[in-house]
Amino acid sequence: MSAATDAVIPRILKTNEAELLDEWLKEQLTAFRPGSKISETELRGQSKEFLNLLQQATQAGHVTDIQAPSFGRVRDMLGDVSRSRGLQGFSPSETATFVLSLKRPLFARIRTELGGDADTLATVTWSATELFDKLGLYTTEVYQKSREEVIKRQQQELLELSTPVVKLWDGILALPMIGTLDSARTQIVMESLLQRIVETGADIAIIDITGVPTVDTLTAQHLLKTVTAARLMGADCIISGIRPQIAQTIVHLGVDLGAVITKATLADAFRRALEMTGQRQRALKPRA
């Protein structure tokens, strides 16, 4: 593409800035559903800033290369807009509409400008399309990425939330497991359990798997690893909350829980733990 046609878009952006902004805003406002999540003033501010930056960026040449350094600020600004819209709960198409709705007013301007010259009109229109497609895709990409970050953060929070280590009695810890046990969770569970054993000097840890929906060979292996690690630290483990279904699965799978003490309910496990630490009498006295 020649420099002459390259210069058309920045020129139009510059000379028609105010009209473009108005028409673009109208496009955007009709595209959004009523009760929109963003105010008109905010939208106007964003649109104005974007037009400004786009005009500066296109002036440096490379109209269709949005990865060029001259587009740095456009990319930053667009990224911020997409990210904030992603967090505000906009849909991907609503987010991309921000850029794509500028097409119609801009194309109209290009046509009035280059009305007579069909060849140049086609070339300029094509490069404008290319530019906006790229910008649109970029918006969607950033949007996607920001949503993925949200999901990742929530996963992390969920992981931390769902693995509490509770002190039940002197020297007795309980670990109520909720949800599926995968390698990542086992690692965190193991670490927090061992840390608590060191802090509290516990002799017994009760791992309650009432909240674990299914137990397969891998889950059982993870459980055994946790038990072994606790044993290496000098704490005995009791696995409790084994439902009949899970007991059947464990036997059918041929999983060997070895020397691990297993109990049906947390209450049974607690009773056993008190016996093992020789605290049973003391613990039951107030109730008698």
């Binding site: 690692q187 193991m190 670490e191 061992l194 840390q195 054993i197 060191v198 000097g201 516990a202 002799d203 690893k225 072994t228 690690a229 606790a230 044993r231 290496l232 630290m233 000098g234 704490a235």
Partner: protein
């Protein structure tokens, strides 16, 4: 050269590993500890590894071996003070140290050894308890 001291405490041997364990040191400890057990007729061995931050499969196996050898020589072995990170590493390496007694700290390890190796005076009491 580093040496790991082996302290005799009544009829127990106390080994506290305070330096970075390397392979030759582990071999040396194995030699010296077995010699010391047979020399003193110790009933129990307490190995404190609370200062050990890093283990590899070799050191892990050495600990298991030392414990097994001590047991053959009729001395109960307790490994105490293992760091959480070390425990996790050993488990991931598949070294479960079967047959090795463990305790959280020296205090608890001592209590465990005392209950595992009853003194001669205690024996009649234990028998009396059983006949009741």
């Amino acid at each position: 050269m580093d040496r790991i001291p082996i302290l005799k405490l009544r009829d127990l041997l106390l080994v506290s590993i305070q330096v970075d364990m390397h392979d030759r040191l582990a071999m040396q400890l194995q030699d010296e500890l077995t010699a010391k057990i047979s020399e003193t007729g110790a009933r129990g061995v307490l190995i404190d590894i609370s200062s050990l931050d890093i283990v590899d499969s070799f050191i892990g196996r050495m600990i298991a071996n030392i414990a097994a050898m001590a047991r053959v020589l009729d001395a109960e072995t307790v490994v105490v003070g293992m760091q959480p990170a070390v425990a996790i590493t050993l488990v991931e390496l598949g070294l479960n140290l079967p047959g090795v007694r463990t305790a959280l700290n020296v205090d608890k390890g001592m209590a465990l050894l005392e209950s595992a190796t009853p003194d001669v005076e205690d024996l009649p009491d234990a028998d009396a308890g059983r006949t009741e």
